[in-house]
Symmetry: C2
Subunit: 215 residues, 2 copies
């Protein structure tokens, strides 16, 4: 029974890791599509998003079955509940990548990001997808120091996000209100993606250590 | 055992209902603060938000204890897992109300919403807090027809949200890019609040009927 439980748990962990990698890929492609106004790639990201919903449902079902059949307690119960939370958050990360892709699609053939902000969005894309990749690794191999590390990385997302906001709300902004409001939303999608990555890591950390770190 | 379980479950339901009412109040006050540039009220909303985090933690703990001590299966397990999801989403609704209040605080003594958009934000506030109140009732007394009703109400939130976005990105917008980007974000906070209310209701519906309605 115990061995079967551990096997099932490992399978759930693998499913969640795959979700994190999927979300990382989605945001990576969404960022490329955003910065190159690549409609095909944006459509691909949007088309793939339903897959993450399915993976979330499957993970939840697995967790449900584990709880029903094995009635885990203490640390094991904590891990299964953490998995349920993580699946939800990882699915949301996919939604946020899809929102970036959706913005690209609406603007096409126009470009969402003006030249002066390209570097910032390259950076947002790079840092946040790096976070999702890191979370993927952390899920199957929880190691000390990863969670605080991710929190620090998220601070740099917040910094770039704040810089973008300052730019689009500043006196020198020359691209108009429509562009500014679109960019405020897109920047927020990245910022939320980073938050969710931290929040997945927080649940993994809790499952591994038994104490829930506060953000 | 069974009776004790039902009692604990009812207690959990009451806690979640209180969270929904708390979120409704937060959004109601945040909207008043937003539209009247009331700094005190905005601060109150921000100060109260931590309470919802505590309620979420307590609900989770209750659910955890129920799972560990009673090892529910089938419908009972479904209800406890739904409660865990709902607690997380209700807490998030509080965050979104706090974001509205935070925007008010930053703009003070200025006003975030120009006269021409006041009606739209009154409407957004009214519809979304109404949804949260409805969800509160639905949690303790799940009734047929409430979920699809909430979904329809959320469509009207999306309509007002789209109207606001069209206005701030339209050619007649005269309040500049900074105002537009702030309003795009605030409108999104309401839209997400409505989404989360639907998503709580979806979980409640699933717990009550055993089949998860798709949004």
């Amino acid at each position: 029974m115990r061995e079967a439980f551990q096997g099932e748990l490992a399978r759930l962990g693998t499913a969640l890791r795959d979700m994190a990698l999927f979300a990382a890929d989605a945001m990576r492609d969404a960022t490329t599509a955003l910065l190159t106004a690549d409609l095909d790639l944006a459509q691909q990201v949007l088309g793939r998003d339903a897959r993450l919903d399915v993976l979330r449902d499957e993970s939840e079902e697995q967790a449900h079955t584990l709880l029903a059949l094995q009635a885990p307690v203490a640390g094991d119960l904590r891990v299964v509940l953490a998995a349920v939370h993580c699946a939800e958050k990882l699915e949301r990360m996919g939604d946020l990548a899809a929102h970036v892709a959706g913005t690209t699609r609406i603007a096409h053939p126009g470009r969402v990001v003006p030249a002066e902000l390209e570097d910032s969005f390259v950076e947002l894309g790079k840092i946040t997808t790096g976070m999702a990749d890191r979370v993927a690794e952390f899920i199957t191999e929880p190691a000390e120091g990863v969670f605080p590390d991710l929190e620090r990385t998220d601070e740099s997302v917040d910094e770039v996000h704040a810089r973008v906001l300052a730019r689009i709300t500043g006196p020198e902004w020359s691209h108009g209100a429509a562009s500014a409001s679109t960019l405020a939303l897109v920047a927020r999608f990245y910022e939320r993606f980073g938050d969710q990555a931290v929040s997945v890591a927080r649940r993994v950390e809790y499952a591994a250590t038994g104490s829930l770190p506060r953000g």
